[in-house]
Symmetry: none
Subunit: 227 residues, 4 copies
DNA sequence: TATGAATGAGCCTTCATTCAT
DNA sequence: TATGAATGAAGGCTCATTCAT
């Protein structure tokens, strides 16, 4: 029936509004200042409704994380559709990670929250946990794929284990991207502010360094450098 | 007289006990679960005493961060005393960062707390903030020094700006080290657990990659430099 | 629908119960001993509910002050409706002030609290402050009106500025009434207890003094006495 | 011996410093904000010493009240030495009360505290209570004396009971003086600020009113009315 | 006497969550 | 479903007072 379908859609719409309200709060005040009252009033629903859609505060944040990880996975999979050498796909993945954080610091924050979840919490009975894990796993798999493509097309040194290399790139780019996050959201963060170092050039160098380190020598590599 | 000296020492000892109690709580339950009552009872002092030594909860955590950043800076400066090529000093700095986090995840956690401090909080009237900043700055300077040494002794490519390179290495190693932290402290963190990837080999590869990227040896590097 | 109306009323009823609970505590133990826990338990609501209706302790007391000042203003305005010479209206205002304090020492106490509020506190964001000020202003205006009436009908000497005279009467009667308050509520207050002086006769004399002092001499005054 | 005498003096000096420190705090922050730590540090003594001289906080404030009431009683008794008609002595007593409050609002505050003491507190075991009561009683007696003088010299209507009249004047002038206190110390007190009414003229009128009311008729009174 | 570290009861306030309607 | 009033545990912080030295 179209009725139940409409209801379903209405439900999703409400859920989305609640998530957006929560995102705004995180953006403006930080995750620590997030409280259910404010989310409810911003979303223009009652607190009771909030709990109808999210069984607790953790689930609400994980709901954001689901959106975040999904969006991130989509961006990553889009990259994979490009017809480019693997090494460049890897670079693009890094670039899209950086863009993601800059455009959605609140998403990045919610993913940090997810990462740091303690065993006791949620984990058992969360409807979102699995989907978040899947999404993140998918993003990670995109990295693995890009590396495999690169190894296959000769643009990436195949001395490494692709998964291990993916973990390595995942970790390092997370670190770089975290610098960007803090520069944007923690006004007192001083590492790059004292000295006039732009994140842009740091990121460029990161690409260069990673590229230089993992790219095979020879022609293909040349091309990258020429570009 | 030795009296006031002894008192001073006694005071420091108590402060240390309180910090240790807080560290234990963070280690066992996470920073979010830290509360002043538990710290007081674990340190076997009254809550009032706790507030005699730390003017609020934030200061207590920053007290841990001060210890953490100090220890970290000491480790870093020790590395610099080694008579080794700059590139190897850089590697050792990364290694000591990793060891630091593994041995003191609660220290790492307190430093994250420091990093994420919002402008409004503390910052103004904290007795610790400045010391933390100095310590971290010192650690960072060690990295810069190691790089400069490497550039001077020819073990590190001097195309980069030393500070920018330091930021880059700081960020990436923070990311790698964060993987270690989460693997250790967030039991559900799955990136490396699904696949049997050891952090050891990831870190080795990180070194290799970074090394490959910034080291000057031979042809490979040359080619990169040619670009 | 009467539903929302009933809810509104129910809300007011609860608020009233909380205020009454607080009043009782003030009456029995004094304002200094007022604490939110006791108010909550006396009102048979949770502490959380208390904060649902009053955003902090100051507001709770100002809530009492609002009731107090409103009641007082009502009493004052009732007096003005009497068809009597102004001088007698003034006397009645004084009398009703005295009655007010005797019947509601806790109200008088809450008004003292209001008077002594420091600039920093409340003042800015209190929902009650303005209403209290208005009520008190209204009471004061009643005094001014009574005086003006008396000046117009010839029962009060019109050498004075009516407002100034009102301030004078306000201040002096506050002082007299304060004697009554202390006699009633501060058992050790000894000014009138040592000597067997009754407040009644003091108040009578106050009226006589004020009356004598502000009444015009001669004929007009005579008329008053005759009436 | 001079030794014990010197010790005694030293003791008094310290006590005085503590009281002065407390007075400053009351003056600057109000009695509610008075705390023992600040008093101790301002007086440059340890908290322990503070408790050596004053057995609790109440006693400290009563210590101020003792000074206050003593000073006030001295001022009052000085007035009595003047060779003037009783009615003018009464006026001067009122004037000196007003001056007292203006110059020492913190003294007035401490006397309010004394007045409002609840039965349970202090009262039993306070070393100051009795002295405060005596001082105040003395001041009050001065008022009685002035009235008696006035009645004797014909400047005050002897229809009243002198004590009753004294209570009346005490109460009313306390009220007037309280206006002055609040105007000075409670910036939001609006009774006189809205309208441009000066306390000076209110006080003048108070004198005139009281004078007119209690003075015998005949020449003097006439003069007052004529003015 | 003098000290000041230590105490701990007490208080205000917040907020995630529940539940009757 | 939707509401929002009610809950109450939890937690940060203060401060008068004590006591060992």
């Amino acid at each position: 029936m179209g009725t139940s379908e409409r209801k379903e859609r209405e439900k999703e719409r409400k859920k989305a509004m609640m998530l957006e309200a929560a995102e705004k709060v995180i953006l403006e005040k930080g995750l620590d200042q997030l409280n259910m009252d404010e989310v409810a009033s911003r979303a223009e629903v009652s607190k009771g409704s909030l709990y109808l859609y999210f069984k607790n505060k953790t689930e609400l944040v994980l709901g954001i994380c689901e959106k975040a990880s999904k969006l991130f996975a989509e961006e990553a999979s889009k990259v994979l559709t490009k017809n480019l050498p693997g090494i460049e796909l890897v670079v693009m993945l890094g670039q899209s990670f950086l863009n993601f954080v800059r455009e959605h610091p609140e998403y990045f924050r919610s993913m940090k929250f997810f990462d740091n979840l303690k065993e006791s919490e949620a984990l058992a009975d969360s409807e979102y946990i699995v989907r978040c894990q899947d999404n993140i796993q998918n993003s990670f798999t995109c990295m693995v794929r890009a590396i495999q493509i690169g190894m296959q097309d000769g643009s990436i040194n195949d001395d490494y284990d692709p998964r291990e290399l993916a973990v390595l790139l995942w970790g390092t780019s997370d670190g770089i991207v975290n610098l960007a996050y803090m520069q944007q959201n923690c006004p007192h963060y001083e590492l790059m502010q004292d000295h006039q170092i732009s994140l842009e050039s740091v990121f460029e160098n990161y690409i260069k360094l990673i590229g230089g380190g993992i790219a095979t020598d020879g022609k293909k590599n040349k091309k990258i450098n020429d570009s």
